[in-house]
């Protein structure tokens, strides 16, 4: 468990961070908490020549409101996100999801940006970002650009981020009055999700007026369950929600592995979607 030797850079500004990744080139890696990167290095599954540690970039850490957006710095830890009153009020799904990541130690080291940029198909926060139509702000040598969460993830451990770019912050649309639930099904408390369902709902007159639903572990990237969202609109009772949740597995391509078969995952997606939506709506 000894990594291959590498150069280490620790910039303190975003510009310096971009300069450092440009200098590192194709064989550079960003360290954004290290909860996934360090195991990969120690198992020698990756051997970067340079590791750029973003832990010193204070501008990338913190939570604030900017107009209609809740802005979370990429280097904000899961523990900070989970505990933030601002996040709980403006994007409760994000706080609830962050609280389920790994274990206490992981949540105090791991970061929102690290989780999104790592793009683990079993990652929880990418799903929340896709469910809420978050916007990701990326800095590169040519300046900044924004990417919609649904366009950010391109496959297993794969995103649109270029080797010379740094994910700086994540902007979640403020959704006051929405309620949320993240149903994570994992075999042990510290294990990755077999399937996870992120749901946020807006209620009106005792009905679910709108819903946002996305799935973890049902494909190479988070899957937005649009058919469920459409079917659940107007639902006023659990039976309707369960029926709507039956669409959750549609158009998904879940893996079959030691954690569960594709068939089982599709089944779980429906069961958990019903629980997530009904839970978010206060029906159960």
């Amino acid at each position: 468990m000894i990594p291959v030797a590498f150069e280490y850079a620790r910039p303190s500004t975003v510009d310096d961070a971009v300069a450092a990744v440009v200098a590192a080139g194709e064989d550079g890696k960003l360290l954004a908490g290290g909860q996934s990167l360090l195991p990969v290095l120690r198992l020698r599954l990756a051997a970067p020549t340079t590791v750029v540690d973003l832990g010193g970039v204070s501008a990338m850490r913190g939570i604030h409101v900017d107009g209609s957006d809740l802005v979370v710095g990429a280097m904000t830890t899961h523990a900070e996100v989970a505990a933030s009153g601002l996040v709980r009020a403006e994007a409760p799904l994000v706080a609830l999801t962050a609280a389920t990541v790994g274990d206490r130690q992981v949540r105090h080291r791991g970061t929102l940006g690290g989780s999104l940029a790592h793009a683990d198909p079993a990652g929880d926060l990418p799903t929340a970002a896709v469910a809420l139509d978050a916007t990701l702000v990326v800095a590169g040598p040519g300046g900044r650009r924004t990417v919609a969460a649904r366009d950010f993830f391109t496959g297993i451990f794969s995103t649109v981020l270029q080797p010379d770019e740094v994910l700086v912050e994540v902007r979640f649309p403020r959704m006051p009055g929405w309620t949320a639930r993240y149903e994570k099904f994992h075999r042990t408390a510290q294990a990755w999700a077999v399937v996870g369902v992120a749901a946020a709902v807006r209620r009106e007159n005792g009905q679910i007026a709108e819903a946002r639903v996305a799935l973890t572990g049902m494909g190479d990237s988070p899957v937005r369950a649009r058919a469920v969202e459409a079917a659940v609109a107007g639902a006023a009772d659990l039976g309707t929600v369960k029926a709507a949740a039956g669409h959750a597995g549609e158009a998904t391509s879940p893996p079959s592995d030691v954690s569960g078969s594709a068939e089982y995952r599709r089944h779980l997606a429906s069961v958990l979607t019903a629980r997530a939506v009904a839970g978010a709506a206060g029906m159960i």
């Binding site: 468990m1 000894i2 099904f185 042990t188 408390a189 089944h267």
Partner: protein, 787 residues
């Protein structure tokens, strides 16, 4: 062993005196040891489950920075061989087992070459420069496939994948009837599969060898320093008195460090080659891959019974996956189970057959319970199935068949003599704590309501044979060593005591429990006692730690040694008090003259008198030190009743343990805190087998569950709050009355959990769920196989 000693320490909930150093890590873990001039090893391991080694080119690796030497198996010509210490049958097929493979690799992870470098990172870096030309050979992973005609052979030179067939038949042994003649109103036959498990001790294995001065000192994270010293000497030709083995503090073992490992032999040989101290510490990945695995057996079991459920015969056909090589006691593990399938019951006829099979997988050997959890699982599962056939409550079927309290001592169908037990008392207590009747009522209500979350109640009434073991019996079973244990007491001048324990702990709490016993035995304060162990030059004799034996066997040696000290101290006291020894009694830790309580001497004063030796009886040797070695006359038989209530979510298959009650009878308890800790940890491991753990290979023989991301260990967050209670039936004829507790929780809990799951789903036509009972398997079972 007749003196009655007052107890002030024994029975106390003493916090463990070793915990501060263990918990903080400020101690001699093997990997903490740094010796002058020490160099580091890294091991290249086979990526193939079976391949011929055409060549190993180590030349490029030798020129890497900081590399001192690189050895292939052929180049490490002093490596010796690894031996099997339990050749279970006379015609056992025992293939030669080299620490570093010479011409063929037979499982993924088998050592192929070793790098020696000035630092561990350089050694690891150089591994990639070793060129190995492998020629892949056919792989066989499945036990039954390996036994089929025409199967690829793991060891072509021995001509078969079947290492041995071992049979016990009560008719042939004269201990019971013939199963083929047993009345069979009812016959129940089942197949249970004990999945492969990985011991997953907390401290990875680590070894340091210092070859200075024509002697070899090995530090190893091992359970068995004494056995190791003997084996190193026997297999390398190094004289035994030139070898010193030290097990410093060891961070868990669970049987996984009851081993003579390739890595130890490699370090020993390399230290000689380079004539410098060497260190090897495995990574967690290497540990999961190549430290021996456990369980991995197929159990075909049949019980016959009368119409009212009285069992008339039991047959077990066991197929045991040995892995690619015979591990230290690998073939013997099923034998430890063979005598336990009849469990707490009065079965009149029994036949057991075990076939040991080689496959291209990591070797298997002892894992907590070693044979006995497997046996207990199979019998406790099938007793539930018999209850269904008979139409009675699963508790009732047990009552009809178990040995009643008044029937002890009882000779079983295996010929073992159970000295004591009270199954009724433990069971009644467990039922009452659980609230069995109330839960059954709730279960019925939930069934009637077709609740998606069903309730199940699981029962496990277990016993185990521990206190390993009577040496004569081990000889009859062809085990390669004895089962005695040794203790030395050193009385220091100031009245402090060093207790030198032959059995060496790897987490059990010897320092504390031994101090409590010796404190009472000698009237010395708990704090004034130090327990030494694990160094063959300090504790010269020992048979080490496994099979719940330390207290049950070593504890007796300790009492015997203390008695010798007391006997001699009494003579000194009588001399100093100018009375006859017959006028003295030992009470409250002092020798007192009967009728004159003011005239008294404590052990500290006597120790001082013996140290200066100014005024001792004529001719007396000026030493109070003593040594005792005890060979048990019988096993000990702890027992108990574990009950488990589970909620089974039939929509997802998730099993949640709602309540877990363990009532154990481990005989007399020295330290309740330690006993409860052992029960909690044991239950956790047994629950883990039932629900979480499984080592899985892909079809090429790669270990899929090669990290803790895939090999799931439950944490405290996944486990219930365990209610641990006891009944106490002291072991008769044992000076401490103790029975052993190290494996009880593991043995009892697995069938309790699975019985509960099956019980919950019984109305849905379920009569088994294979282990581990993953959510998917439970969901499939609950929904008619496939949803």
């Amino acid at each position: 062993m007749t003196a009655t000693i007052g107890e002030t320490e024994v029975g106390q909930r003493r916090l463990r005196k070793e915990d501060a150093r263990l918990i903080t890590g400020r101690t001699q873990w093997t990997d903490n040891i740094r010796l002058p001039g020490m160099v580091h090893l890294a091991i290249l391991r086979s990526p193939y489950a079976h391949a011929r080694i055409n060549s190993v080119d180590t030349s490029a690796a030798r020129s890497r920075p900081n590399v001192i030497a690189v050895y292939s198996g052929a180049e490490l010509d002093n490596q010796g061989v690894l031996v099997n210490a339990w050749p279970v049958t006379e015609d056992l097929l025992a293939p030669t087992y080299f620490p570093v493979a010479l011409t063929e690799v037979r499982h993924v992870g088998e050592p192929v070459a070793v790098v020696v470098a000035r630092d561990a990172a350089s050694a690891t870096d150089a591994l990639e420069a070793i060129e190995v030309d492998y020629e892949p050979l056919p792989v066989v992973l499945d036990m039954e496939a390996a036994l089929a005609p025409g199967s690829p052979l793991v060891h072509s030179e021995i001509g078969s994948n079947k290492a041995f067939t071992w049979i016990f038949d009560s008719a042939a042994a004269g201990t019971g009837g013939d199963v083929s003649q047993a009345p069979a109103d009812i016959t129940v036959t089942r197949r249970y599969v004990q999945q492969r498990l990985i011991p997953a001790f907390m401290e990875p294995r680590s070894v340091v060898v210092d070859p200075s001065g024509g002697e070899w000192t090995m530090y190893s994270a091992t359970q068995i320093p004494h056995v190791l010293r003997f084996l190193l000497s026997a297999t390398t030709g190094t004289p035994e008195h030139k070898i010193r083995v030290i097990a410093p503090d060891v961070g868990g073992g669970f049987g996984g460090k009851l081993a003579a490992t390739p890595e130890e032999w490699i370090a020993f040989a390399v230290s000689t080659k380079v004539n410098r101290p060497v260190k090897y510490t495995e990574t967690r990945s290497e540990s999961l891959l190549s430290a021996h695995h456990g369980r991995d057996m197929i159990q075909d079991i049949t019980v016959t019974a009368t119409r009212d459920g009285i069992v008339t015969g039991l047959s077990v056909k066991l197929t045991a996956n040995l892995g690619a090589y015979l591990a230290l006691v690998g073939g013997g593990v099923p034998l430890l189970g063979a005598f336990m399938y009849n469990a707490i019951y009065k079965f009149p006829a029994y036949r057991f057959e075990c076939n040991g099979v080689f496959t291209n997988t990591t070797k298997t050997d002892a894992y907590r319970g070693a044979g006995r959890p497997e046996a207990t699982y199979a019998i406790e599962r099938i007793m539930d199935e018999l209850a269904i056939e008979v139409g009675v409550d699963p508790m009732e079927i047990r009552r009809r068949n178990w040995i009643r309290h008044e029937e002890f001592p009882f000779t079983t169908v295996c010929g073992l003599s159970y000295d004591s037990g009270n199954y009724e008392a433990a069971t009644d207590k467990a039922l009452q704590i659980l609230g069995y009747d109330e839960l059954r009522a709730e279960q019925n209500a939930r069934r009637a309501a077709n609740d998606p979350v069903q309730l199940g109640i699981g029962i496990s009434t277990y016993t185990e044979m521990c206190g390993l073991a009577p040496s004569r019996l081990l000889g009859q079973l062809r085990y390669g060593a004895g089962g005695w244990e040794s203790v030395t007491i050193r009385m220091l001048a100031t009245g402090k005591v060093e207790v030198i324990s032959g059995s060496t702990p790897h987490g059990q709490g010897h320092d504390t429990a031994w101090s409590q016993i010796v404190s009472d035995q000698l009237g010395i304060p708990f704090e004034d006692i130090t327990v030494l162990h694990g160094d063959t030059r300090v504790a010269a004799k020992g048979m080490d730690t496994y099979g719940s034996r330390s207290l049950a066997v070593g504890g007796v040696a300790m009492v015997m040694a203390c008695e010798k000290v007391r006997d001699k101290a009494k003579l000194v006291a009588a001399h100093l008090l100018e009375c006859s020894p017959n006028d003295l009694e030992f009470t409250d830790g002092k020798f007192r003259v009967r009728g004159n309580p003011e005239a008294a001497l404590g052990m500290a004063e006597i120790s001082g008198a013996v140290f200066v030796a100014h005024n001792l009886p004529d001719g007396m040797e000026p030493s109070l030190d003593s040594e005792a070695t005890y060979d048990p006359g019988n096993f000990s038989f702890p027992h108990g009743t574990h009950l488990c209530a589970v909620d089974v979510d039939t929509e997802t298959g998730r099993v949640s343990i709602r309540k877990y009650v363990a009532v154990d009878d481990v005989g007399k308890v020295i330290n309740p805190l330690i006993v409860e800790g052992q029960v909690h940890g044991g239950v956790a491991q047994g629950v883990a087998q039932a629900l979480y753990e499984e080592a899985v290979y892909d079809e090429s023989g790669n270990l899929i569950t090669g990290s803790f991301a895939e090999y799931l260990l439950p944490s405290a967050a996944d486990l219930p709050s365990i209610v641990s209670d006891r009944t106490e039936t002291p072991a008769p004829g044992h000076p401490l009355g103790v029975k052993g507790v190290g494996e009880a929780g593991t043995i009892a809990s697995t069938p309790a959990v699975v019985n509960a799951i099956v019980d919950a789903l019984r109305p849905r036509g379920v009569n088994d769920v294979p282990m581990p009972c993953t959510p998917e398997r439970v969901w499939r079972a609950a929904n008619g196989g496939v949803a």
